[in-house]
């Protein structure tokens, strides 16, 4: 295989590896923009993964699987919303608990579904274009979920910065007291945002269990929910930067495997660490610019709100 072909396949693998991160991180970005910090992304991804898988196995329809995965993720998210928004539970503790809950619940639901193989989604090979050298497979030979994740980026951006609803959502995240005084339903908006975050996390998880490695295995997200959380900060709450961050993370992950396969003498433990190291380094670089963080971080992130207080 020529060097160009290898570069092309690294690119193709990078886009696929970034997809679950992109779904989950975009969802969490909207949640955090509304002023809620939900650390339960990993748990919601797992619930989405197992529900999507189960439904696809039962019905044979991948579409039904993804719809149910999104609904299941949203339902798990709304559990968090009820606890933190209405019962005023601590968001950090509840989020951690949601992850643990999601791990256990998904394992319980998935008991009967372990060891069942599933066909992944077909690749959309666009005639002519997907045969292009280097970029052909990467850009035109992926499956529909990879494109959906990328399409969600401008949609989330337009919603947040070009729509009235997005403006209100951001206002709620910046100053919930002021937004409340203006007559906006802070809790309802946050509830919807958390449900959206859950749905996106569910889709990200289902991408893993139904497409990337089409099978169900306990804890199969292996920490991707936490990476997604880091990506949101990494991207300073900007959708386009979330996408670039997900690609960077996916790219370094794939690249280190290729470096090993080529027999280049670098310790594999160091290489496995590399994507995380890259994330931390960029975080440090961004954090040096305090103004940028302050400008983009929602001012009410993680703060509790009660309309009567």
């Amino acid at each position: 295989m020529s060097d160009f072909a290898v570069v092309g396949s690294i690119l193709a693998a990078m886009f696929a590896a970034a997809t679950p991160l992109l779904f989950a991180a975009l969802g969490e970005l909207v949640v955090e923009k509304s002023g809620v910090l939900n650390l339960g992304v990993e748990g919601m991804m797992l619930v989405g993964a197992v529900c999507g898988f189960a439904v696809t196995v039962q019905t044979g329809s991948a579409t039904a699987g993804f719809v149910v995965a999104a609904l299941a993720g949203a339902a798990t998210g709304s559990l968090f919303a009820v606890l933190t928004l209405f019962l005023l539970a601590n968001q950090v503790a509840t989020g951690l608990a949601l992850t643990l809950f999601g791990v256990g619940l998904s394992a319980l639901i998935g008991q009967g579904f372990v060891g069942i193989p599933l066909e992944g989604l077909p690749k959309l090979n666009i005639p002519g274009l997907s045969d292009l050298p280097v970029v052909g497979q990467a850009l035109f030979g992926q499956d529909v979920m990879v494109y959906l994740a990328i399409a969600a980026v401008p949609l989330v951006h337009l919603f947040l910065y070009r729509s009235r609803a997005g403006l209100v959502l951001r206002a709620v995240g910046e100053n919930h007291t002021a937004a409340h005084a203006l007559g906006y339903k802070v809790l309802r908006i946050r509830f919807l945002a958390v449900m959206f975050g859950g749905a996106m996390a569910g889709l990200g998880g289902a991408f893993l269990s139904m497409d990337y490695t089409p099978m169900w295995a306990e804890n199969m997200t292996s920490g991707r929910g936490w990476i997604a959380l880091a990506l949101v900060v990494f991207a300073t709450w900007k959708p386009v930067r979330v996408m670039l961050g997900a690609w960077l993370f996916g790219g370094v992950t794939i690249l280190q495997l290729h470096v090993q396969g080529m027999g280049i003498d670098v310790p594999s433990q160091l290489l496995s660490m590399l994507p995380y190291l890259a994330t931390v380094l960029v975080l440090v670089m961004i954090s040096r610019d305090v103004a940028r963080i302050r400008l983009n971080a929602p001012a009410c992130l993680g703060k509790l709100f009660h309309p009567d207080a």
Binding site: A17, G110, V114, E218, R224, G261
Partner: protein
Amino acid sequence: MNRRTMGKTLLGLAGAAAVALSVGAGPAHAQDKLKVGFVYVGPISDHGYSYQHDQGRLAVEKALGDKVTTTFVENVPEGADAERVIEQLAASGHKLIFTTSFGFMNPTLKVAKRHPEVKFEHATGYKRAENVATYSGRFYEARTVVGAIAGKMTKSNIIGYIGSYPIPEVVSGINAFTIALREQNPKAEVRVVWVNSWYDPGKEAEAAKALADQGADIIVQHTDSPAPIQTAQERGLWSVGQSSDMTRFGPKSHLTAIVEDWNGYYVDRVKAVLDGSWKPIDTWGGMSTGMVELAPYNPAIPADVIKLADQIKADIISGKRHSFQGPVKDQAGKVVIPEGKTATDEQILKMDWYVEGVQGKVPK
């Protein structure tokens, strides 16, 4: 039948790793029966390592169900939690306890000291005591057979090998495979990618894709998930499963699998406790004991290749052939095992170097 109860959940390092603990308990009324406990590192549903151990437990129930009851605890993290689980089993009247992962070694010994009346069996460890026996399988023997099959089947002469951690068990497997591979096909080479995990389907699939993109046409794995088999099937490549028969994840791709079979050993050891002949011995069983098996061959493998594989298997079982038969050269071409000699058990248990034909270096 086993009643399963969802147990407590544990918060792992950095809040990132969460482990669900569930306990299965046998009927409580059977006071006079021997209680046998099993501790697993993964879920019994992993269809790999812990699944195979649980098959052994079920074999014990089937063979000796009127004399024993069994209990298992799955998803037990290696470390302090393991000690609590083992202690709990010992304290609740279990007279024989199998701890099935390397990381349970020290917790097992600690609990064994406090409970001299209980017998312990620790898998893949090397420390024994008055009431602690150890056991493991010579999995490298099966990798010799698989290597010969791969040498006959490869067209690109590049074999992709997904490793978990660079420990002697995995490195000796890579070496045994490579020696047999190049015996059949001196031009073939092995490329190793370490994923630094026993079980991460996403990462294992990514590793398989990377190796496929580099021209490998056979993917061998020493990790536990069937994800590499699925990837190989999707890419139209051959693959070799690990721990259990993984055919259904890639029927066109799955050449065979290296299968761990603990059934016979577990039944024997429980019998030994029942008749009082149990001793704290070390068992390292190969294909001759049935502890290491090969899954059924893919029907697409030509008859002459199957004949060759069966011959090698028979020779290993009869002792005519050893996986590390001299001369064996390392990557620098230096003879490590001289002609006429075979590797000692100690050499295999401490193996930290690659033979000729493996690309890259063993991570240190």
